[in-house]
Amino acid sequence: MTNTVSNPDTFVLFPLGKKRFALPARQVNELARQDEPQTFPHTTPLLTGVVLRRNQIVPVADIAPVLIGPDAPARKFYLVVSRHTKGRVSRTAIPVTGECELANAEQLPVTGKLPAYVSGLLSLRGEIVEVLDLDHLMSVEVFA
């Protein structure tokens, strides 16, 4: 039997309603106040439009309905994150409902029946926070 010891890593904790979720900090580019997204017709699930950030057109992915259901409170900020899409790194804006927090913690393996887009768990002062795999969360398979 082999024991593996993980070093603590840095995560960005963000609220969606009453629950908090985490993303690896290396994936997060910035936290910005929410602008109204610009919309045009498309058929990609979760995408609600695009925003202009630093002369770039950044898609907005509202993941709240998947994570906490349709009654999520108003989103106040965008977490702009880097994602690997089709072999390329691209930025996506994730609307969140409140202030974010940095946390150093050891990522624990997933236990029990959790959706496949949960890549790990953080245990923070009695609170269990799910670490999200955004690429998986936004993949077509989730909606198939």
Binding site: Q38, F40, P41, T43, T44, L52, I57, T85, K86
Partner: protein, 151 residues
């Protein structure tokens, strides 16, 4: 680029791909299996299949007011309004996160006075295969009409 609007959204299409813009008149009913093609229109003896842009982009139809006849194929696009002609500086690639039908609909996105406007692929309104199938259907319909007149 020609800027046009459908159900409150603005789109751009290369001006070179538009043969003519005209009022909606002379539409003939043409029941087809494609929900977005329900009419044809004649121009100088050539029959164009009319694509309802609102249905094409899965939007609720508003008040179609113009027809854009395309150059590359016998396709006319029913739109709400033609806004204006506009030169554009650049076309941004559609962000990779967009993975649905829009990858076929759009060449990319352009910025016009801070507004993000999709630049449409003219070929996406009807594929070559769809035009072929509709042409066969049209020939069949004409033959049936001719036979009925003869009888």
């Amino acid at each position: 680029m020609v800027l046009f609007s459908v159900a409150g959204s603005m789109f751009a299409i290369p001006a070179r791909s538009v043969e003519e813009i005209r009022e909606i008149a002379g539409l003939r009913e043409f029941p087809s299996r494609l929900a977005r093609v329900k009419h044809t229109v004649l121009r100088q003896g050539k029959c164009y299949f009319v694509v309802d842009a609102a249905r094409h982009f899965r939007m609720s139809s508003q008040q179609p007011g113009k027809l854009m006849l395309l150059r590359h194929a016998p396709v006319a696009v029913l739109v709400d309004a033609i806004d204006r002609m506009q030169e554009i500086q650049s076309i941004h690639e559609l962000p990779a996160a967009f993975g649905g039908d829009e990858r076929n609909w759009y060449r990319g996105l352009t910025l016009i006075k801070g507004k993000v406007v999709p630049v449409v692929h003219p070929e996406s309104f009807l594929s070559k295969a769809e035009v072929t199938l509709l042409s066969v259907l049209l020939r069949g319909k004409r033959s049936a009409e001719a036979a009925a007149v003869t009888a």
